[in-house]
Symmetry: C2
Subunit: 755 residues, 2 copies
Amino acid sequence: MLKRYSLLLAAALLASHLAPAQTPAAEPKPLLGFDASGAAAQYQLEAQFDAQLKTDNLRDWMKRMASRPHHVGSPHGKDNAEFMAGLFKSWGYDTRIDVSYVLFPTPKLRVLEMVAPTQFKASLTEKPLAEDATSGLTAEQLPTYNCFSKDGDVTAELVFVNYGVPKNYEELERRGINVKGKIVIAKYGGAWRGIKSKVAAEKGAIGCLIYSDPKDDGYWQGDVYPKGAFKPESGAQRGSVLDMPTYPGDPLTPGYGSTKNAKRLDYKKAPTLTQIPVLPISYGDAQPLLAALAGPMAPEAWRGALPISYHLGPGPAKVHLQLAFNWKTEPVYNVIATLKGNLYPDQWVMRGNHHDAWVNGASDPLSGLVALMEEARVAGELAKTGWRPKRTLMFCAWDGEEPGLLGSTEWAETNAKQLQKNVVAYLNTDNSERGFLFASGSHTLEKFFNQVARDVTDPQKNISISDRRRAYDLINGSPEAQKDARDRADLRIGALGAGSDYSPYIQHLGIPSMNVGFGGEGEGGEYHSIYDSFDHFTRFKDPNFAYCKVLAQTMGRAALRLVNADVLPFEFQNFSNTVAKYGTEVKQLADNMRIETEKQTRLLAEKRYEAVADPTETLLPPKAHEAVPYLNFSPLDNALLKLEQSAQTYALVRKGNPSLTAARKRELDQLLYQAEQQLLSTEGLPRRPWYRHQIYAPGFYTGYGVKTLPGIREAVEERKWAEADEQIKRTAAAVERFAGQVSRAAAVASSPPAQ
Amino acid sequence: MLKRYSLLLAAALLASHLAPAQTPAAEPKPLLGFDASGAAAQYQLEAQFDAQLKTDNLRDWMKRMASRPHHVGSPHGKDNAEFMAGLFKSWGYDTRIDVSYVLFPTPKLRVLEMVAPTQFKASLTEKPLAEDATSGLTAEQLPTYNCFSKDGDVTAELVFVNYGVPKNYEELERRGINVKGKIVIAKYGGAWRGIKSKVAAEKGAIGCLIYSDPKDDGYWQGDVYPKGAFKPESGAQRGSVLDMPTYPGDPLTPGYGSTKNAKRLDYKKAPTLTQIPVLPISYGDAQPLLAALAGPMAPEAWRGALPISYHLGPGPAKVHLQLAFNWKTEPVYNVIATLKGNLYPDQWVMRGNHHDAWVNGASDPLSGLVALMEEARVAGELAKTGWRPKRTLMFCAWDGEEPGLLGSTEWAETNAKQLQKNVVAYLNTDNSERGFLFASGSHTLEKFFNQVARDVTDPQKNISISDRRRAYDLINGSPEAQKDARDRADLRIGALGAGSDYSPYIQHLGIPSMNVGFGGEGEGGEYHSIYDSFDHFTRFKDPNFAYCKVLAQTMGRAALRLVNADVLPFEFQNFSNTVAKYGTEVKQLADNMRIETEKQTRLLAEKRYEAVADPTETLLPPKAHEAVPYLNFSPLDNALLKLEQSAQTYALVRKGNPSLTAARKRELDQLLYQAEQQLLSTEGLPRRPWYRHQIYAPGFYTGYGVKTLPGIREAVEERKWAEADEQIKRTAAAVERFAGQVSRAAAVASSPPAQ
């Protein structure tokens, strides 16, 4: 019985789930924001769009733009900006290059040497390879360094701190190890790199090394470059250590644009620079240092793939680290190309990707940027043959993303008011490769984006990118993701933390944003090294640019639907569900902490830790915590109820689909796209007012990693109970404002039909 | 409120849980099998026993016996046996050396070389160390080999198979890799080594290498010997690959004693020899072979700590493996020392540990053996000063354990009838070290053993070994173990699989057995290598022999209580709980398999695996399985109910504690200790009739690892549904027989009091 049932069910599902993505058909599927005839026309437009995408352009542009290093301030970076501006103009866009002036330190002196118990001098140099055409352009390459490290000259014993996150220091403390006055060596990974130096400094370390363990992206993952895709012995990861969780962008102009004559902080007082010198190194340079450590063995989860016994130290390895930087101001060139809408020219749909790289940057950022360029080209072609977008379509190629979202943040801060008034949505991409769809963003766009993903066909399988991602979740997902993939009509999109240029738009300005890419089947340890090259990309990331093209299809569709929609395709029930889920999570977090704290308090009182401890080793009991109080979540629960009701009302009204006057539509659109701004709080998050969104933020101690309901969640995680209660109220107020705006939108949407 | 509650509760627990183990006190705690005055006397005896234990003896005997290699057939092995026999005699024991004659192959020729793509000849030699006094006795050492490998001369491409268990071959098959006609290389660990060659042969491989990855016991775990305790580059693990899950003991005399003139199988037809040649190698020898493999990357969980990319092959590495053995028969010397009981001389309490080693064997087996010897010495001393055991106390030092429990099995088979008639319990130890109590055995002894553990003080902490183990479970245990440690009065003892000399006693003869040791704080990669030496042991395992001594206290107490008890301290409610728990587990296993199979069937029908697969790699969908039927567990449930009732009745009767006549006591004792025999089935387990216990057996595909309710569990695991139903009935019948015997015991125990 069971078996027959399963097979029948499966057959039905096959029919419903695995049909190829549909391009225009006799009876097109409904499209959020369009009526039937509008949807048919839109599908036809998208078919034309797809038909004109040229893979050769993607390849040619990547090859040209990746041919030389193009970091901030480099000649080739400026040349790339001008090259793009020329193309955009030739495609019919109103194009300009907006310049900001930002602090951009580059290395003047880098010394790392072991002075005891033996001598060793780190090479700090990535080896060019004959098999990689651009790896030898040494004169133009930035050396390996962490941008926005402070200057310093320190000598001290070394301590191995795993990924260097706060939890790791707790484990060290239980082993009696304090990093005060020491230099720490942390592995890359586990959290954004800037967290490592920030936490190390908080703990009293005087210097910080960050190395790439071969377990994480070297030989343990696969053959190393050039035989395979992974990090060779001399490879090191450049990258910013600006304290972006406090604020991104130019550290000297917090919260306002770094125009030529803007008032600037003294760089020595800028709060987002590191407090200690920091340097990234290769595993070739790290191995002798780590091998010279004694002291207790590192916990098992900390050990990497070097052929050594990983000890914690401190010492006897003692290192000398000396760093000095050129503290220069450089121009960053944001290329802005505009195609004016013919019905709602004041409603802007922005599409962006950065253009600066750490070195040649084929994957990061060009794999996403060339897709954006091809989208712009084809949209321009369509406009030349008669089509015009209803809303204004803008393409933005940002400079200075790598050092700290400098270009996008300064542009956002400079134009803040106008952007909050006009921007409908910001659609971001960055590096992308062969594999599966990964999408994050405002959940008011989740249903809209699911329709986009439903309508794009995966280039390797004859199914939609949505179905391929659903299959991935069903097979590789967490139990929760598996359940969602079975039971939920829409794929869940992730929440936005930090890590690319969407950050100022969503978190500072409250503009609905998305970030999209493909991944999981490319391979590599090339990230932010001289090996992120055209040669590497075309061997290991997306050899025939099929996924660059499908990225253009996806983001092009998203942009075209947004600019053409009759009414903007925002939807609030998915958002309401999602925020309710976050609410459940933070309550569960507090409850679990309460249970764990009680358990630990009891084990401490019973002296169980002492009973277990090996007397030949140091393992102190964990620190005692106060009991976790019950928090008052009722303001949040009440706000979530209002949100649910308003979302339901809006959905019902829209289902009724009354026709509206042009003026009503314009009014409705504005209420819809500005709803996200209701989620901002004036005060911003505790200790980082730049971040104003009460639903999404990068974690203060995770960096890239998003924290949802960040005010509440981080207060709970850090056991700040009064602050948690305060943040529950503040978040609830934001959700109530949002629900109010959705109710207003529902009222406008249900106003008497057009005469 | 909460906090105060926790602290109060904790204070109460402190008082109850963490008091030092009690030696005789004014009001002794109740002792199972003794009345109050008997318990007081027993406590007094145990105090005398403890007082006479001498650490120096433990050290001196280990040093002497580990001074030269003492494997089967070696001069020092025979000498050790005679040395012990002399001691036992001097302590007043009736002592004899029983000899069996067993097949014991040793290497005549060992060749391992890589013939393509490059040439490499494996050294197959462990390096002597200046820091280790006995490592250089090369002439007397057995070379590194797997005992009971067949002869062979094979050349083929190599395939890496992780731990070489059946699941690993399923993963290889999904990657399109078949080992037919290949030589496999497996890591040590994950399952008993004999499983690796057995499964490899079943899958069609023609040769098998087993190496010690540094992740498992080399530098990844800690500094290598002699700097630290772990396996150096040339270290290799000797060991038996006899198919012990089919039957242990001399492969030529299955099920009967290998006396001098016993009928023997032709060794070429012995079913427990391997089907293919097998050789253990060091990681120094393995690295060039593994580094020369190409093909897909091994799954992440398979990768070790060598500084290479772990590929699966097959090839291009091609190896030549040639092995030839001397197929000799050797005498094995079991030393049997007896102290006759004065009240029930026909009730025997056996205490055993093996004396043969692979090389010098300080840890394995001498760390347990010297404890046994000291127990015997002190019991002998006590007997000289007037005390006599009520029951007969026997000390057994087995030979030939390492090649396949040869000594203990042949002795058990030779004396089977008498042992089943007379033996009350068999108490085994083997290697032991600093750390926590680990105990496994018949659950009819669980409560008894908990009282022993309650009364022995940990030498590093002023608490009982039971409380220290409970603290371990509370902090390091699985969620289930943590819950048990909180809620359950008794520590759970484990179930016995294989791995030491208890196997024939419990699994073949149905004699209640226990195996006990300490561990978790010793360190080492010396197992079965030339580095298992007195020097290594006294630096890394138990430097001051404190845990050897506490092992003697523990096992001495257990033996003294068993020989002295008024009525044997068997208890059946813990056993009943435990078997009911196993019943729940096998039902859960079938239910989970049903859910997983349904899920997979659906994913297969929907072609989700194809949707996810990377087209540039081979990853076939998993094999389809038939739906899992509902099994009829009612016979087992009904039997468990009877068991629960009989156990309860017996407990109630014993709580009433009627005084019994001597004859009744004798009758009761015999019912109690022979109850375990009711759990044997005449037919034995499917395809391995030697294993007759229906509750405990080593896994057919795990080796050491125990399978509880093995007939049912393995049938379910292997999806043999008809066999599962059959085994449910057979197991239920055994449980019913057992319950019947317990009821009879209850009846005898409640017979009219002695006049």
